[in-house]
Symmetry: C2
Subunit: 374 residues, 2 copies
């Protein structure tokens, strides 16, 4: 069995950095394609610094690598389509097309038999009021493209607010989503290899603040067997439907129904995901290594947990590693601190939930940390 | 507390590579100083490619970093002494002077109250026969400098062989060591921070073949409490005597005496060590991270084991990662395979010794692996 030992990554942020670091022990070198000069991943990969519009540099990049992947879903489709004529791209660009657009994403998910929040595309010739009739208020207006970390989203409680949103988001394609009364957010990190074998990590419980992920717990506590079964089905069917190779993240709402809990799919991310960072120390194989293994043609590693883990994001401020409690793993991304910016994360691996919660509390006062009441 | 975020490393091999990869999540960038163009660490660090004799490039290197360390003990002393005038070097160059020379090393160890094999310097004006009178045959002739992986060593069983050794090693400073009847080789990986706090990893049992380390087990099984106490004393006293900052490896023979087992010190390595590679996955903090923490002025991380570990060296041949058993961690060094060359290692972390031995056996037939009967 041969495998790719030169891997191209579109994007050079912290996800590319952690992918490249997972690739090195496998004998794989990474090349990042990234317009920014100060990309975190440049420290661990060859940096092809150029615009995604430059076909000449895209060609040189493609010549240097055996296979191409990406760390973000907003890769310009012209670049992805051009590169696909030169080298294999995993996950395949069709996944990008779907995941770049909230409408396509929800249509895809429902077609596979899974539920989402109620949604409707806003017809710009008719305005929001007709769409609101379909969804009911309160609702959330979201741009179909380029939203992340809560950006491009506005909640609508009244018709007056609805008209304001039309002004604020004028010129962009919008969908309206019904507000879901969920008990918690859970994410599924699935990975499928080139032979169609899919595994998934334990379900992850995610806590947000100001639209940004702050805390993930893995495995999520108190998961109902129905939810586990749904997660299995989602991991398998969604990756199969896309003939997917690599990590696919499925962000879900857990909702209570008279028949028990169920999952609604909120978003798909065709890449490694912030809620999976705990897997570097907390799993037998990290999400980064398994993504690299999948796209480079190696068998997947086991996803058994090495304890119960927490991942705490560092947002907007960087603690001194000297102040981080002993035994808590720190990962800094070599980015300057700016409000709302992800600059690192902490991981805790414990034997049981009581010990994990105690160790999480010790991090509460650190710069960059926001924690819910636990 | 401030800490160094630009770390210079003399040498650019796999030890520097793993040091740099441990430094990145701490927000620390590494700069390697390494004459070879194809150094493994260049993929994860700035590469200053120049000779150790070039004072001008040494100066540029020193200007780029806040503190300097090294991955090998044979750093030319002129380079180390010059750099020490520009930036702090940890471990301090005195450790190099001692560890570069088998005679100084043994004199230092015995001065601190610890035992070694019987040894004597060969007086070149008098030849080996007088030295042999002191040590008795069989003995081992070793060059005082530049020996590693069994190089620069010859066993002497007869006086005839002794004269042949004098011819083979002519012009080099030699010591003669008595052959020790040891039960096994154990290594101690100690690490001391800038405030003088020393911790050590669990004792490691090492198995060699053709003079090269092949297998390490950590924690070593069946260690007598007397040996643990000796290891504690060695870690503390030897690092204190050198006012040491960083990882110090103490290679020992375990010898049976009428009063119980005891340790003789065979060699000191003033650096991270091959027998400590298991700590990347097998310890709460790897030897690489703790070395970086110590030399950069961060508090040490905990050295508690995450199970019982084995490290299997890959020598002279590289297995396909696809053939490595699931759950066994592989680390390749991005070096071409040549006979006797260390090109990677495998790590296994298990819950108990029975499970560990079973998983080690699964690796026996892999290219590059040599295992003793277990």
């Amino acid at each position: 069995m041969t495998y790719a030992t030169q891997l191209g990554i579109l994007g050079g942020g912290q996800l590319a950095q952690m992918l490249a670091m997972a690739a090195i022990p496998l004998g794989i070198r990474c090349h990042i394609y990234e317009p920014a000069a100060d990309a975190p991943a440049q420290h661990v990969a060859y940096h092809h610094q150029s615009s995604y519009a430059q076909q000449a540099t895209l060609k040189i990049f493609a010549e240097r690598v055996a296979v191409i992947t990406y760390e973000f879903e907003n890769v310009p489709s012209t670049a992805a389509d051009y590169l696909a004529t030169l080298k294999p791209i995993h996950p395949q660009p069709k996944a990008l097309t779907i995941c770049q657009d909230r409408l396509f994403e929800k249509q895809f998910v429902t077609k596979q038999g899974f539920m989402t929040a109620p949604f409707t595309a806003v017809d710009p010739t008719k305005g929001v009021s007709q769409s609101i009739d379909k969804i009911r208020l309160p609702a959330i207006a979201k741009t179909r493209r380029m939203g992340y970390d809560g950006k491009g989203q506005q909640r609508i409680n009244t018709l007056t607010e609805a008209y304001q949103v039309m002004v604020d988001l004028a010129g962009q394609d919008i969908i309206l989503e019904g507000v879901v009364n969920f008990t918690r957010e859970l994410s599924i990190i699935a990975v499928r290899d080139a032979h169609g074998r899919t595994v998934r990590y334990p379900l992850i419980e995610n806590h947000h603040h100001q639209g940004i992920l702050r805390l993930s717990l893995a495995a999520a506590p108190n998961v109902h067997p129905l939810i586990e079964a749904q997660a299995d089905a989602m991991a398998k069917l969604l990756t199969n439907a896309l003939d997917y190779v690599g990590v696919l993240t499925i962000e879900c709402f857990e909702v209570m129904t008279p028949n028990g809990p169920t999952l609604l799919i909120n978003e798909l991310a065709p890449r490694v995901h912030n809620s999976g960072h705990w897997s570097i120390e907390g799993s037998m194989t990290s999400q980064f290594e398994n993504h690299v293994r999948a796209v480079c043609g190696l068998p997947l590693g086991p996803v058994a947990p090495r304890g119960i883990s927490a991942m705490i994001n560092l947002i907007g401020d960087i603690p001194n590693p000297a102040d981080v409690p002993a035994g808590t793993f720190i990962h800094l991304y070599h980015k300057d601190a700016r409000p709302g910016r992800k600059v690192g994360h902490l991981t805790i691996v414990a034997r049981n939930m009581a010990s994990l919660l105690r160790k999480i509390e010790e991090c509460r006062a650190l710069p960059g940390v926001w924690l819910p009441t636990l």
